[in-house]
């Protein structure tokens, strides 16, 4: 009989173990508590690392997790925070004919919501069994009505769209985008990638009110002088901020039309023109800069005509005296006197000066539609013609830059449309000697205030306007034509401490028989335009513009 006993033996084991390292006598003893402690330690280290990682993350990286809607572009605002462009979401309503259950009922319901639609056309589309859009950018009211129909065939698609509340006002500055959300002109093109990336609105230097008033004046004078087009730039001479840039004709950005007519170009930046006598100021400034002349330096026995190669250079005004000081040459816009100053300067010095103030080369600007001055070969005759502004081309924007530099004390200026932090002369480079600006500004003022000056109509009380006129015949095949002119007035104000430069350009203006001019430097008025010159056209426009925008500039921008 095998009576085996099943014995269970319980043994108590030591729940500890020891590790001995003989060489260092290090004795580490592990037990359960130590094990749990290590687990906690590991967890706390992981959390600490995570905490440190989260703390060190930049705000931008966190924001990246937010989804950016397709077709998003940043809004654009003016210097006062008014919207010039805004991206808004809109809803398009489409119909999928395959899902239509009761066509007749659907058409009746739609007719109640959209009574003005062509329902014969819609019925035909339904029969074609192809998806089509019924209404694009539907109003909130109609959206609610149509969705309450509960018809499965009605589809809504949310889309982002660009709205331009100022319509035509900034068409050349802002530019257009294509259907693929790519900028094709203006800032929309040059800042295409930036506008897709940034979240905050892009602030420009322009002022909506000034832009509107200037454009209104241009439209008014377009009907008076019947010019092909016109352009105005208003720029701060000290920091290069462009407060207004109008080129007329313009276009409504909301219509998204394809613009192929060259008359719609941005004349301020893309238009390359011979601008005539406005260049004489540069010749004289170069002479003063080089110390070759002073404002009272006399030029005696000036000829009435000069022959250079095939060309004859003559005075515009035959009454102009033969003996003139430098100041009188600029005030009376003497061609021969300017040639003499140019000859004193010689090619290298005049060329260097014009390059220095940014007239001769293509300008680096915020938008890509920028014209390139036509290159030419310098020679004795070219020096003579360039001295009084013929045979040399540039854009109105570059002219504004040049006038800003020679009148602001001689500091470098970069015209800009995008608002930056305030820049002052302390970090601007002086490129023209001290004292030149003061002498130039005094003469520019006299051109407006004196009887001999050519810009009396711009003498608006309270603004100390100074400036130089330029009347240039347009180049056609084989030479110049007297029929088509470009009349320009480059003005600065106030001349005692210039803040603004304003260029007014009229492209092919005509004389007006009915327009009544009111004299500024004497009493009385004059009916009709006697001469198709800048003094009787562009200066009058500039005067009217300054009269309207002056109070805004004087009060709103008092501190700038």
């Amino acid at each position: 009989m095998n009576n085996k006993k099943n014995n269970v033996t319980l043994e108590e084991y030591e729940n500890s173990f020891s590790y001995k390292k003989s060489k260092t006598n290090l004795n580490i003893e592990f037990n359960r508590i130590a094990f749990i402690f290590f687990i906690f330690l590991a967890i706390s280290i992981i959390y600490s690392i995570q905490l440190f990682h989260l703390g060190s993350l930049k705000k931008d990286n966190l924001n990246k997790s937010l989804t950016v809607k397709k077709d998003y572009r940043a809004d654009i605002i003016d210097r006062n925070g008014n919207y010039l462009v805004k991206t808004v979401s809109s809803i398009d309503i489409g119909i999928n004919p395959i899902e239509v259950i009761d066509e007749k009922k659907l058409l009746i319901n739609l007719q109640l919501i959209f009574p003005n639609k062509n329902y014969l056309n819609i019925s035909n589309k339904l029969k074609k069994n192809k998806y089509f859009y019924l209404e694009k950018k539907i109003s909130a009211e109609n959206y609610e009505k149509i969705m309450s129909l509960g018809d499965k065939s009605i589809k809504s698609e949310e889309k982002l769209t660009r709205i331009y509340p100022q319509k035509n006002l900034f068409s050349h500055i802002i530019g257009q985008i294509d259907d693929d959300n790519r900028g094709i002109s203006g800032l929309e093109k040059s800042l295409n990638e930036k506008l897709k990336k940034i979240k905050e609105p892009l602030q420009l230097t322009v002022d909506t009110d000034l832009q509107y008033l200037i454009r209104e004046e241009l439209i008014k004078f377009q009907t008076i002088f019947k010019s092909k087009g016109s352009a105005v730039i208003l720029m701060n001479v000290n920091n290069g901020e462009i407060l207004s840039m109008v080129s007329y004709p313009d276009f409504d950005l909301n219509k998204r039309e394809t613009i192929s007519d060259v008359n719609f170009i941005n004349r301020n930046t893309k238009g390359v023109y011979e601008l005539g006598s406005v260049f004489k100021t540069f010749t004289i400034a170069a002479g003063l800069e080089e110390g070759l002349i002073k404002t009272d330096t006399e030029f005696l026995n000036l000829e009435k005509k000069l022959k250079c190669g095939k060309n004859i250079i003559s005075e515009y005004d035959n009454e102009i005296p033969s003996n003139l000081t430098v100041e009188q040459i600029l005030i009376r816009s003497g061609n021969i006197g300017s040639v003499r100053i140019g000859q004193k300067l010689e090619i290298d010095k005049l060329k260097l000066f014009l390059e220095k103030i940014g007239i001769l080369n293509k300008i680096d600007f915020d938008i890509e539609e920028v014209g390139e001055p036509i290159p030419f070969r310098w020679g004795k005759c070219k020096l003579a013609t360039v001295s009084f502004g013929h045979g040399i081309t540039t854009t109105p924007l570059q002219l504004a830059k040049g006038y800003a530099i020679i009148t602001n004390g001689g500091f470098q200026v970069k015209p800009s449309l995008i608002k930056k932090t305030l820049e002052n002369h302390q970090n601007q480079k002086r490129i023209i000697k001290k004292g030149v600006s003061e002498q130039i500004n005094r003469i520019l003022r006299k051109i407006v205030t004196t009887k001999e000056g050519t810009a009396g109509f711009a003498n608006i009380e309270g603004y100390e306007v100074g400036g130089k006129t330029g009347t240039a015949e347009k180049v056609i095949i084989g030479g110049y034509t007297r029929k088509a002119k470009v009349n320009t007035f480059a003005s600065i104000f106030p001349t005692s401490n210039p803040k603004y430069v304003m260029i007014v350009l009229l492209d092919e203006p005509k004389t007006s028989e009915d327009y009544i001019y009111k004299y500024k430097n004497r009493s009385g008025s004059y009916k009709g335009t006697p001469f198709n010159t800048a003094g009787w056209t562009s200066v009058e426009v500039a005067g009217k513009i300054i009269e309207r925008i002056g109070p805004i500039l004087a009060t709103k921008y008092l501190e700038n």
């Binding site: 809004d75 509107y212 009380e461 309270g462 309207r548």
Partner: protein, 103 residues
């Protein structure tokens, strides 16, 4: 010594978990606030757009001709006056002074 190390580590663990917990709460609050701000921002943008359109110079000129009989007048800068305080008295001066060549 051992006890001190253990105690320090324990305090660190507790502090870490507390900080983490409070951070999470703050994060949640920030998220909620951001989510609430987003539609408000969008709404503000739309209202501002409407305001900018309705108060644009073009519209204001249109309203002026539509609702008022009198024309807008140009401000003559020589007639603008400045108000300023001097010795507790309010004084009036011209906004600009005529220069010699303007007289």
């Amino acid at each position: 010594m051992k006890k001190a190390i253990f105690a320090t580590i324990l305090i660190l663990i507790i502090a870490t978990s507390l900080v983490k917990n409070s951070t999470k709460e703050i994060e949640d609050k920030i998220f909620m606030v951001n989510e609430n701000i987003r539609p408000l921002k969008s709404e503000l943008g739309d209202v501002l757009l409407e305001y900018n359109y309705l108060s644009s110079p073009n519209k204001l000129a249109q309203y002026q001709t539509q609702y008022f009989e009198k024309d807008l007048i140009k401000i003559d800068i020589t007639k603008i006056k400045k108000l300023y305080e001097e010795n507790s008295q309010i004084k009036i001066s011209n906004f600009i002074y005529k220069k010699k060549d303007e007289q």
